[in-house]
Amino acid sequence: MTSDVVVSGSLRNRLALILTGGAALLAIVLFIVVRVLTAQVAQQGQDNILKASMSSVLDTAAIRDGQVTLDFPYSSLSMLNTEADDRVFYAIYEDNTLLSGYDWLTSPRDVAPESTIFENTTLKGEVLRVASGARTLIGSNGPRNVFVSVAQTQDALSNTLNAISRNVAFLGLGFFAMSSALAIWAASTTSRQMRRLTSSVTRRGPQDLSRFTKPVPSEMAPLVASLNTFMLRLDHSLTQSEDFIAEAAHRIRTPLATVRSHAEATLQRVDRDENRTSLQAMVRAIDESSRAAGQLLDHAMVTFRAGNLEMVQVDLADLLHELVQSMTPVAEMKDITMTMELERPAMLQGDAILLQNALRNLIDNALKYAPAETRVIIKASNSPTLSVSIYDNGPGFAVDEIETLSGRFVRGKDMGNTIGSGLGLTIAQEVVVAHNGSMALTNRKGGGACVTLSF
C-alpha cells in the first residue's frame, strides 16, 4: 500500500530522536553543573583549612629581641592531615628573606592585612593549592613584613571529586535511560493513534465514503477534518458523475430510440428496396452504437469493481434462474427453448452484480448465435469444482479464433449480421478471473458452442 508513497523519515523516529537527544543533552548538563559545583565546594573546604593553618602559623609571629620569631604550632600542620596522605609544604619569609620552608613555593608579595591569597602551583606535575597571608610587625627597628604560605597536594580532594563524579555520572545515565524509555513510549503512543486512523481507512469497503466519527486527538483533528471534507467531495463528485452518466444516457439514448422507432415504423410503409436497405442500415447502426455504449459502460464497471469485489454469498443456481426468466421473452422471439440443469447447492463467495453481468453476456451470446427453434442449455455443476456452462446449437467458435475471442473488441469473422460489440466475452473473462476462476471456450461434438466458467 505504501509502495507508491514518497516516504521521508518517520514521525515516530524523529520524535524519539528529539526526545532522547534532549534527554542526553540534559544529562550532560546535569553532570557538568553538579561536578563544577562540587569541585567549587570541595575547593572551598580545602581553602578554609589551608587558610586556618596559614593563619595559625602567622598568628605566632612576633618580634623578640629585635628578631622575628615564629612558634610553628604542630596543630597547624596536623589539621591538614587527610586520608590520602596529602603532602604539605610551607614557606615563611621575613620581608624578602626566606626564614624557613621551600623557596620555590611562592614569592612574598604585599598582601592586604587579614586577607588571604589562594593560588595553584605545580610540583613535578602535581597540583598544589597554596594559601598565603602576611602580617606587619612593628619592632624597634621599624616595621617587618612576615609572609607565610602553606600548600597542600590535592589527592584527597580529587579522590572525593572522582567519587562524586562517578555518582553523578550514574545519576545522569539513569536519567538518560529513563527519559529515553519515556521518549520511545511517547513516540509509539503517538504513532499508534496514526496507525489506528490508517487501519480504519484501510478497512473501509469500496463504497464507504462516510465521515470518520471516532474520537481522535486534537492534533489529528485537522487531518481527519480534511479527510472528511475530501470524502464528502469524492462522494459528491461520484454522485454527480452518476447523475451525469444517467443524464447523458438519457439524452443520447432517447433520441436514438426515437430514430429507431421511426425507422421501424417507416419500414412498414415503404416498398422500394433501396429505401428499405437504408432504413435497415440505420436501425442496425443504432443497435450497434447503443449496444457498444452499454457494453463499454458495463466493461468499465467490471474493471472498476474487479479491483474491489463486494463479496457476498451468491447462489449461482438462483442467479441463473432469474437471468433465464428475464431473458425468456428474447428467447421466445426465436422460439428458442432455454433448459436449465442446475445442481444445488451452487454457492459462491463473490460479487453478485459482476457475476450476473458475466452470465447475462454469455446467455445473450448463446441466444444471438443459436438458430431459431433450437435449445440453449444452462448447466450449473458443483463437482469437481463449481462451474457454469452455456451450450448452444449455433455455428460454434472458429477453431483458430478460440484463443483470441476473449480479447477486447475481438469478434468472430463469420458472425454475419449479428450485432455485437466484441466485449461480451471480455467482460465474462474479466469477471471470472477476478473470482480466481477461468473461462473455457469449446465446440460441442454435434455442433454448437460451449462456454464454461469454472470457479
Binding site: H250, A257, S261, A265, V283, D298, E332, M333, N357
Partner: protein
C-alpha cells in the same frame, strides 16, 4: 389490449404509440407523472410502459406509489440506463420488466406478451373468429375442439393475420412486422410458418390463401 405510455419525449412517444397501434392495440399517452396518475385513476389499462426521467419527477416514484396503491396493472420500464445495478433496483421497486432504450419493437412486444401471460388471467384475451378460438396471450389455438399450442413465431404471424383479416401481406412485410432486425430471417422462412399455420387451421373456417406475386391473405369462409 390497452396500453398507457408514459414518455416525455413526444416524438419517441408518437413513434412507439403508432407502432403499438399498428399491432392493433389502443394507446393513451401521458407526458408527465401527473398525467399518468390521472389516466390510471380514470381508465383501465392492461399494461403501462413507463419512462424513468420525466419532467415532473422520477418514474420510479410513480412506480412505488403505483404498487403501494395495490394497483396490479403490469409495468414495463423503458430506461436509458443499462447498468445491472439500475435494473435490479427497478425490479425491486415492482417493475414487471424493463427495456433499455433504444429497443427493438419485436422485443417490446415479446416482453409485453410475457408480462401479460405471467400476470393476467387469460379469459379476456380469447378471440373467437368463426369456429376458431385464439388466445394471443397464451398462444392457445382451438380448432374443432382441438387445442394447439402455437410457437411464438406462428402465434405472432397468426395474430397479425387475424388482426388484419382480408388484407394482403407480402413476405417482406411479414418479415418486417414479425422479426427483429437482429434475426437473420429469410423470406423463405415465412413460407415455413405459413405452412405450419395452414396445417393448424385445417378443417376450420379460416384459410390462408396465397396470391401469386403479391403475398398472403387470411380468408374467413362462412
Amino acid at each position: 389490449m390497452k396500453y398507457l405510455l408514459v414518455e416525455d419525449n413526444l416524438e419517441l412517444a408518437e413513434a412507439i404509440a403508432s407502432r403499438i397501434r399498428l399491432d392493433g392495440h389502443a394507446v393513451d399517452h401521458a407526458a408527465t407523472i401527473a398525467d399518468a396518475r390521472a389516466f390510471v385513476d380514470t381508465g383501465e389499462y392492461d399494461l403501462i410502459l413507463l419512462d424513468i426521467m420525466l419532467p415532473d419527477g422520477d418514474g420510479r416514484t410513480f412506480l412505488k406509489q403505483h404498487r403501494a396503491a395495490k394497483n396490479l396493472t403490469s409495468v414495463i420500464v423503458l430506461t436509458a440506463r443499462s447498468q445491472v445495478s439500475d435494473r435490479i433496483g427497478l425490479l425491486d421497486l415492482g417493475a414487471d420488466d424493463y427495456l433499455t432504450k433504444p429497443f427493438d419493437h419485436a422485443e417490446l412486444q415479446a416482453r409485453c406478451r410475457a408480462v401479460l401471460r405471467r400476470n393476467a388471467g387469460s379469459a379476456q384475451s380469447v378471440q373467437t373468429i368463426g369456429d376458431v378460438d385464439f388466445d394471443a396471450v397464451s398462444g392457445l389455438l382451438r380448432v374443432n375442439g382441438n387445442s394447439i399450442n402455437l410457437r411464438n413465431r406462428e402465434l405472432r404471424l397468426l395474430e397479425l393475420l387475424i388482426a388484419n383479416k382480408g388484407q394482403v401481406f407480402s413476405k417482406q412485410k411479414l418479415v418486417d412486422r414479425l422479426f427483429s432486425y437482429n434475426d437473420d430471417v429469410s423470406e423463405n422462412a415465412i413460407e415455413v410458418y405459413i405452412g405450419r399455420l395452414r396445417k393448424h387451421l385445417e378443417g376450420s373456417q379460416l384459410r390462408i390463401v396465397t396470391l401469386r406475386g403479391l403475398g398472403y391473405r387470411l380468408n374467413h369462409d362462412v
